[in-house]
């Protein structure tokens, strides 16, 4: 009797062991297969050159520089944004009743230059859905250029297409106020430098 029980227990144990080993072998095989597929997928995926985005941005900056006004380029180079005076509300002093700050890949911020009061954010993007490798985002300076061209060419249309929000939704109002202060200092320093340099040569001779 005890021999029979021993044989039965041994058979059950052997069956269980076989089941456990088989399931482990299956899991191992599945893991190896998944790893092989992943390696194959990686080999097929296009290799991203880490310098590509930097080169694209360098080209975009050169294009932006060649298209916008000199003061606007220098503002972008030094401060990281461009201030554009609203075309539809130029007041008697030609200072502009409202202005826009153009940031790369952030909403356009409208504000009143007299009081530096923030008016609204205009969220607008230029996604290129045809681009599969690099994604839909333009380089930073190309995004700024597209916004600048839209504002200069057809401000109303841009504003119509953008999603308008109250200030502070995506751009930190404190950051914008700091940027407006930096802009004021930048313009003051620039004026002072120009005054130090004196009038242009032709005017001196005249």
């Amino acid at each position: 009797m005890s021999t029979l029980a021993f044989v039965v227990v041994a058979l059950v144990a052997a069956a269980l062991a076989t089941f456990v080993v088989a399931s482990r072998v299956r899991a191992h095989a599945a893991r190896r297969s998944a790893e092989r597929q992943e390696r194959r997928r990686r080999r097929r995926a296009p290799r991203m050159d880490p310098g590509t985005e930097r080169r694209a941005e360098r080209r975009a900056r050169a294009l932006l520089r060649s298209i916008v006004n000199r003061d606007e380029w220098e503002m972008y180079r030094d401060l990281g944004f461009i201030r554009v005076i609203g075309r539809n509300a130029v007041d008697g002093t030609s200072a502009g009743a409202y202005c826009y700050l153009i940031y790369p890949h952030k909403p356009i911020v409208a504000y009143l230059p007299g009081s530096n009061s923030l008016m609204s954010e205009y969220c607008v993007e230029f996604p290129d859905h045809e681009e599969r490798v690099y994604g839909p985002k333009l380089p930073d300076s190309d995004d700024v250029l597209a916004k600048w061209m839209m504002i200069r060419a057809d401000e109303e249309d841009l504003i119509k297409r953008a999603n308008m929000h109250l200030p502070g939704r995506q751009v930190d109002p404190q950051q914008v106020r700091r940027d407006l202060w930096r802009l004021k200092v930048w313009e003051r320093d620039r004026r002072a430098r120009r005054e130090q340099q004196g009038p242009p040569q032709a005017a001196v001779g005249a």
Partner: protein, 82 residues
């Protein structure tokens, strides 16, 4: 005249180049202009205000709207609310 397109990961790419006074070049430019607008691009021409010297831009929706003497037409994806 050069047609440039702003592209992700590349910066601007020259799509076409030619002298619009030559009929062969003009046909090629017109075809490319249509292709770009059909694929959802917008076109802008950098300009300069003659009286102030300030640089401006002009949106063009048709090849015929491109001002004479234009050196560059910039194509970029349509604006969408973000």
């Amino acid at each position: 005249m050069k047609f440039l397109r702003l592209m992700p990961g590349r910066g601007e790419v020259v799509l076409a180049e030619g002298d619009p006074r030559l009929s062969e070049d003009e046909e090629r430019l017109i075809d490319e202009f249509r292709n770009q607008l059909d694929s959802g691009m917008w076109a802008a021409v950098p300009t300069m205000d003659g009286s102030t010297g300030r640089r401006e831009a002009l949106m063009v929706r048709d090849y015929g709207e491109i001002p004479d003497g234009t050196e560059r037409v910039i194509f970029f994806p349509r604006a969408a609310g973000g």
